[in-house]
Amino acid sequence: MRERHKFVLSLLLLAISPASGFPISASLGAQAAASPDTMAFYRALDLEAAGKYREAIPLFRAALKTPAAVNALLGLERAYAELGWSDSLVAPLDTLISANPKEETFRTVQLRALQMAGRQADLRRAFDAWAHDMPSSAAPYREYARLLLQKNQSAAADTILLRARQALGTTKDLQLELAQTRAAQGQWIESARAWRQALLTADYLVQAAAYALAPTPSSSRAQVREIFLALPAEVGSRRALADLEMTWGSPADGWNALKELPPDSASAEAWSEFAKRAEAEDRWAIARAALESALGWKRTPDLSIRAGTAAMNAGDAQAALRLAPLSLANGDSALIARSYLPLHARALAALGRPMEAERLVNAYDRFLAPGAKSSLTRTIAWGWVRTGDMTRARAALAATGPEGDSSDAAGWLALYEGNLKAARALLRGGTESSPELASALGLIARLKVDSAPAIGKAFLALAKGDSAGAATQFVQAADLTPAVRSLLLLLAAQVNASMHNESAAIALWTRIVEQDKDTPEAPQAELEWGRLLRLKGDAAGASTHLEHMILTYPQSALVPQARRELELAKGAIPHS
């Protein structure tokens, strides 16, 4: 705790030095050259950093008479606060202010000290005196309003801001305080107006604005939108609105707020930043739109890859190729191999253009990192599988040489062709991991035969996206291969369940539980059965199966999952 405090303290010291006009950080590095009167100040800083506040205080006080007075006062304020003696600041502050009534830091610290001491009447008097002595300055109003806002006294802060308007003729230097006051009072429309003004000169307040306006009730949101969307389109206000829309669960509206910005570097940065949030939330279509706009301003390889990936993830392979053309890499073969090739191969395979993908991969073969080739080969072979051309898929792998022949893709192709012997050897030594691979490995490990064309056909149908055909073929294969019957039936049930063909899935789970109750698939079938019933609202039916599964197969690795399902079915834990 103490260490953390020190860290914060040191940051504070660095932060205040430029404002005070006294280069502490530079001077700290040259303490030996400091004059004797500022030595006390440095010594005080050391003592403060060591937590020796009592010892630091007299030295800080001594330094109040030196050029380091402003920073010495801030040090004194921190030390007194640590000891709970903030009241003790008041007397030296009176002296300092008498000597230098224009110094804003002295006045600000005075307000804070009186606030800490709970001397509300004196606090008000100090504010009045400051406003009187500096009639054209917004600082007294700003600092006092901030203190009131910190105490949740938004009505009182409002009164001060009103007085500032009367005294100064404007609140243009108090827009942040005005915005916070209005938000605290639930005056969302007025707050939004003030935030828009504040953001004109301080666009770093984007997040603060979005945070303050996040609780805006839905009934007021349309008006808040209007304020931020009013022309001219400014980057700060549009970014704040985009953040708000994301928080309100309307990412499409967030993009609408940003897309009209004129293309320039600030807008491009706003688009790219917005896309990052959309990417993190898997809003790929919106991320793509934002990145495409950013690309319109500046076409960098990084942006193009992000845009292409977003398009691909949004299901638009054609756009992925268009947004991330190889030409953007400026002939940097290593960059192409590392960043563009995986995206292009994936897009081309999805478009049923595996030949082009194959050509591309071959062209950059020597720039590929170890292990990358195997993944690309699999992608290409996958493309051939999607076209249903197993011969070409096989040929594609063979053409890539020995590595292709021993790749994961070769293992999959062997499986699709029913060649279990080859599939067993290739998939076991593979580098990828996926649920499909786990199922396939589990299946072939339990089969003693080297050939099973019916199983291969079923997996191929699944790879081609023919779920209904795959489910039927898994059942047919189950009847032909009793050694893995339960596993094939389970796969068929899973495919049926994913197609919402629940009665077929239940029939298959029933068969497994009744006929193959000693296989590892029996607890899994019962777990999946219970889960399906729970999702359909049949809590009692789900509980029966889940309880049976837990008590019958207590050693199963699936028991923790079954317990969680049971708790959800019984309402013992909230649904996420």
Binding site: Q115, Q150, K151, N152, Q153, S154, A155, A156, A184, G186, W188, P215, P217, S218, S219, S220, E547, I550, L551, P554, V559, P560, R563, R564, L566, E567, K570, G571, A572, I573, P574, S576
Partner: protein, 429 residues
């Protein structure tokens, strides 16, 4: 749910008959089933539910204070084994020889075996509509599988508290100011709905406004404890219940809720003789400051006063001489991470003499967990909102306790549910 009371002798005969009927089915069962509550336990929270189920079924149950984290010793029945297996609760069979060793160890150390006799009838005071915050006790009871009855103002006013042994309060504001949410959420649909329903309830039940209704509910809760009820409160209910009791004859509500400002002399007029835990606290006079009084040490919703979270330490009591506080602090951790609530902690300076401090934060001017007797009953206050969601904010999703099966903070809640089941023993001092 109310359970039928059975004469102890009859209950014993029933258990023997039940055991005799069940033993041949599953073979020879051990004499007892030990439910360890130290780090060997896989699901501490469900273990309380198992024990509650044992007591409810009339099976023998003992709470072994300070033994293996506050273990439970239950009758070894097929049904309890089944429930333990389903929930993943760690149990250990204990035969007669090991039972003798165990009892000898308890006798020789700061430990005690407390028989648990009757499953308490549990009521949770909670509004019937879902609100955008969770309730740690409801979550814990649901997860552990302990039955409870939700009750609210109509039930309390009808006199239904007398049907229950144990009452839990959580987020309610008994000063009737709806936690001053008006300041930030007056346009939120849930708040508008809350305000309308509470106003309608006040009118229906014959009160001028919400503060009037809530103060009367507070008074009935005080009477419930006085007559022998067990009260457990968390979060803002602790502080506001006390303010409502002390301020029964004073206008302590701000104008936004009852149309009149707080009595400027309210502080002086508070009658602290009527309260359970606190005295001489000062009311927050400003309608714009989201705090009720200086009872709470952390003041989470007041930016200038908000105190950081630390950890709190559970006190160690003599199990043989102070069994009640010992039961309330049974845990497998002595130091627990703190968590915020509308009321997070209790300032030491306003505690009444005689209040038992169960947990505090070392060096801080506040305590976390307190307990005391009142009339024939007892009360326990636990500051904070959700032990596993230290910064819980309005609108946050409820905590999934299956991810916190061994939460030491939640254990303290469940200790409170079980301790009313303990058989009262004459004090040894």
């Amino acid at each position: 749910m109310p359970s039928r009371s059975i004469h102890p002798l009859r209950r014993g005969a029933l258990i023997v008959a039940l055991m005799a009927a069940l033993v041949p089915v599953r073979g020879v069962l051990a004499q007892r089933l030990l439910v360890p509550m130290d780090d060997a336990q896989q699901n501490h929270l469900k273990a309380y539910g198992l024990t509650y189920a044992a007591i409810k079924a009339g099976a023998s149950a003992e709470w072994l204070l300070n033994y293996r984290g506050g273990a439970f010793l239950l009758a070894d029945t097929p049904e309890l084994r089944r429930q333990a297996g389903l929930a993943g609760i760690t149990t250990e069979p204990v035969d007669n020889a090991r039972l003798s060793q165990l009892r000898a160890e308890i006798a020789a150390n700061n430990m005690e075996a407390v028989p648990l006799e009757k499953a308490p009838k549990v009521a949770v005071y909670t509004p019937p509509d879902a609100l955008p915050w969770d309730d740690a006790v409801t979550l814990a009871l649901k997860y552990a599988g302990i039955e409870y009855t939700p009750i609210y103002d109509d039930d309390v006013e009808r006199g239904d508290l007398s049907k229950y042994d144990w009452l839990h309060l959580h987020h309610e504001d008994f000063t009737g100011q709806l936690n001053k949410f008006y300041l930030s959420y007056r346009d939120a649909p849930w708040f508008i709905d809350l305000l309308q329903k509470n106003s309608a309830a006040a009118k229906r039940l014959g009160f001028a406004n919400i503060p009037g209704l809530k103060k009367d509910v507070a008074e009935k809760i005080r009477e419930f404890v006085e007559r022998g009820g067990f009260l457990f409160a968390m979060c803002g209910a602790t502080e506001t219940l006390e303010l409502a009791l002390a301020g029964r004859s004073v206008d302590i509500a701000q104008s936004f809720i009852d149309g009149t400002p707080m009595d400027p002399d309210a502080d002086r007029k508070m009658d602290w003789k009527r309260t359970f835990a606190f005295r001489d606290a000062h009311l927050e006079q400003s309608p714009f400051v989201n705090a009720m009084s200086d009872i709470d040490g952390h003041q989470v919703n007041v930016p200038g006063r908000r105190q950081p979270l630390g950890t709190f330490t559970l006190f160690n009591f003599s199990a043989k001489f102070d069994p009640v506080p010992s039961m309330l602090v049974q845990d497998h951790r002595a130091v627990v991470n703190d968590f915020y609530g509308v009321t997070t902690s209790f300032t030491k300076a306003v505690l009444k003499p005689g209040v038992t401090i169960l947990a505090n934060e070392e060096g801080a001017p506040w305590v976390k967990y307190i307990h005391g007797d009142y009339g024939k009953g007892t009360w326990t206050y636990y500051g904070g909102h959700d032990p596993e969601d230290p910064q819980h904010a309005i609108g946050n999703p409820p905590t999934d306790l299956s991810l916190f099966k061994s939460s030491p903070g939640y254990r303290l809640i469940l200790n409170n549910v079980l301790f009313p089941a303990a058989k009262k023993k004459p004090l040894k001092t």
